[in-house]
């Protein structure tokens, strides 16, 4: 049963990407396919990350520990979307202009923050393997708490990239603050009582 649901989750995450890139390559999704793939994967990463952050509170609230089996899966899909978001920007927007890429990461605060978030997500994704997780023991959780900081950074990156709209980032802010407030004790302990 869990395997079936997991397959469905994989399909739900992968199929939009198939549609997206098929449409983008054939120039059939709007006038600027580059902008479209960048926005789609970026917002997708944020959406999936927020869903993955909702898993633990939902499992607790409804006493369904089985939900926790989907946490890693969703986290990895959030990472995949984020990685595609970055690669889309580098490949299609900047068209492999590495110098421009480095300049942009340094000069544009919203891109700096986005790269910071990605730099957090990368080790989280790498250490999600069962073997590594067991080896890391307690420090695994310490490392993975950084996801809260990544989530805030991703929101800042999103908000900063928008010219004037406040409603869409506002809705995401509410969702994020709510999800973080559900674990405020844990976050406080982690941030202030580490030494």
């Amino acid at each position: 049963m869990i395997a079936v649901v997991k397959t469905l989750v994989h399909l739900a995450a992968a199929l939009p990407l198939v549609w997206l890139y098929y449409g983008a390559i054939t120039d059939a999704i709007g006038a600027d396919p580059v902008e479209r793939v960048i926005h789609f994967t970026g917002i997708g990463a944020l959406n999936i990350l927020l869903i993955s952050l909702a898993i633990t509170p939902l499992a607790k609230r409804f006493k369904q520990p089985v939900l926790l089996k989907f946490r890693r899966l969703l986290g990895l899909w959030a990472f995949t979307y984020a990685a595609l978001h970055l690669l889309n920007f580098l490949f299609f927007e900047l068209q492999f202009d590495w110098r421009l890429f480095i300049d942009e990461v340094i000069d544009r605060p919203y891109i700096t923050v986005g790269m910071f978030a990605f730099a957090i997500l990368l080790p989280l994704a790498v250490t999600s393997l069962g073997k590594i997780k067991r080896k890391m023991g307690k420090s695994w959780q310490q490392l993975h708490n950084w996801v809260y900081i990544a989530a805030v950074a991703i929101w800042v990156h999103f908000y900063w990239s928008i010219k004037s709209d406040i409603y869409e980032p506002g809705l995401y802010a509410i969702a994020l603050v709510w999800l973080l407030s559900l674990r405020k004790d844990r976050i406080r302990r982690w941030l202030f009582k580490r030494s």
Binding site: P16, G30, P33, V34, F40, D97, R108, S161, S164
Partner: protein, 338 residues
């Protein structure tokens, strides 16, 4: 007046085939039902908070604005590849109709452009009111192929049809006090959902206002456009009449104009009010002066081709129109007056 020598800005038309191929393929895809699915997909995720969430199943085709063919003097052929018409009319920043670039084409098709009144007033001896028909008849129309550079670092090449703003201003006889020109977009919240709702319109104070210095307005490049690709403008491109200032970022080229006022003092401009550190009054295309969030050194030219089109090009000072306009800013520090 006959134009004798070909200047750098007098780009010309070519690649009609290219556009045709593009349009045909789009129609083919449409008939296969693909575009519907693609739009649905992008709507569901990419624009969750944008306009018309209930418009999900509606096809934009069933309420298309009707464009009319225009009589005009055609531009000379050009080397530059025109942006396909379908892209020019579906990729628009017109926040009165929504924030997503595909929103204006979807939400503006019902705009009533006839009757229309455009007034020229303020510091002039002979105020003018143009009715809808006057927009197309008062001055001989000519086609001009201009590059359009958006502050977001993408660009297009568009065959506009219209006339020089200078011709209109001269007819109104500006007084000695006239130093600037202030423009205003139609304010009609009933027709423009972005003016009704802060959510759809991005929290901008409407009506949209823009301005030029009088000498910028009188430059022969500065154009009032009433059409593109041989036809009247569709609403998403600023029907029935808009400004085109090709050496400035696109947001200077105000759409659906109802008022042109000649004034003594520098008029307020919408994006400058919103974020003065990001959008100056002049907004000249300048690869040296970055927008805080976008490098302006290069741009992506939107032409044909999908994701893999290699189309990043260097941005030129004054968008390549320096020869015609650089003298307007001779003694100005353009990093300060951006």
């Amino acid at each position: 007046m006959l134009i004798k020598s070909k200047k750098s800005y007098q780009l010309t038309e070519n690649d009609v085939t290219n556009e045709q191929v593009y349009v045909n393929r789009r129609q083919l895809l449409k008939s296969m039902g693909y575009i519907g699915a693609g739009t649905l997909l992008s709507q569901s995720v990419a624009r969750s908070a944008s306009a018309a969430p209930l418009d999900f199943w509606g096809s934009s085709d069933d309420k298309a604005f009707s464009q009319q063919a225009l009589n005009f003097k055609k531009a000379q052929p050009t080397e530059e590849l025109l942006t396909p018409e379908a892209k020019v009319t579906s990729h628009n920043n017109f926040y009165e109709f929504g924030l997503d670039k595909s929103d204006p084409a979807r939400n503006s098709q019902g705009l009533r452009v006839n009757p229309w009144q455009l007034t020229v007033s303020g510091e002039v001896s002979k105020p003018i009111t143009l009715d809808y028909d006057d927009l197309f008849k008062k001055f001989p129309l000519e086609e001009r192929i201009y590059r359009l550079r958006c502050v977001e670092a993408w660009s297009m090449v568009v065959p506009w049809i219209g006339f020089s703003l200078a011709d209109l201003i001269k007819q109104a006889e500006p007084t000695a006090k006239a130093k600037y020109v202030a423009f205003e977009t139609l304010y009609d919240p009933e027709q423009m959902p972005g003016q009704r709702s802060r959510r759809i319109g991005g929290g901008i104070d409407y009506p949209y206002v823009e301005g030029l210095r009088l000498d910028e307005a009188m430059n022969s490049l500065t154009m009032l456009s009433v059409g593109l690709y041989g036809k009247t403008l569709p609403p998403q491109n600023g029907a029935p009449i808009r400004l085109v200032v090709p050496w400035k970022y696109g947001f200077k080229s105000i759409k659906s104009i109802v008022s042109i006022r000649l004034v003594e003092k520098m008029p307020p401009t919408t994006w400058n009010i919103l974020a003065p550190n990001e959008y100056g009054f002049y907004a000249n295309v300048n690869p040296e002066v970055s927008h805080p969030r976008w490098s302006q050194a290069s741009e992506r030219r939107i032409t044909t081709g999908g994701l893999f089109a290699r189309n990043r090009i260097a941005t030129l000072p004054f968008n390549g129109y320096g020869e015609e306009v650089a003298h307007l800013y001779k003694n100005m520090d353009l990093a300060r007056y951006y």
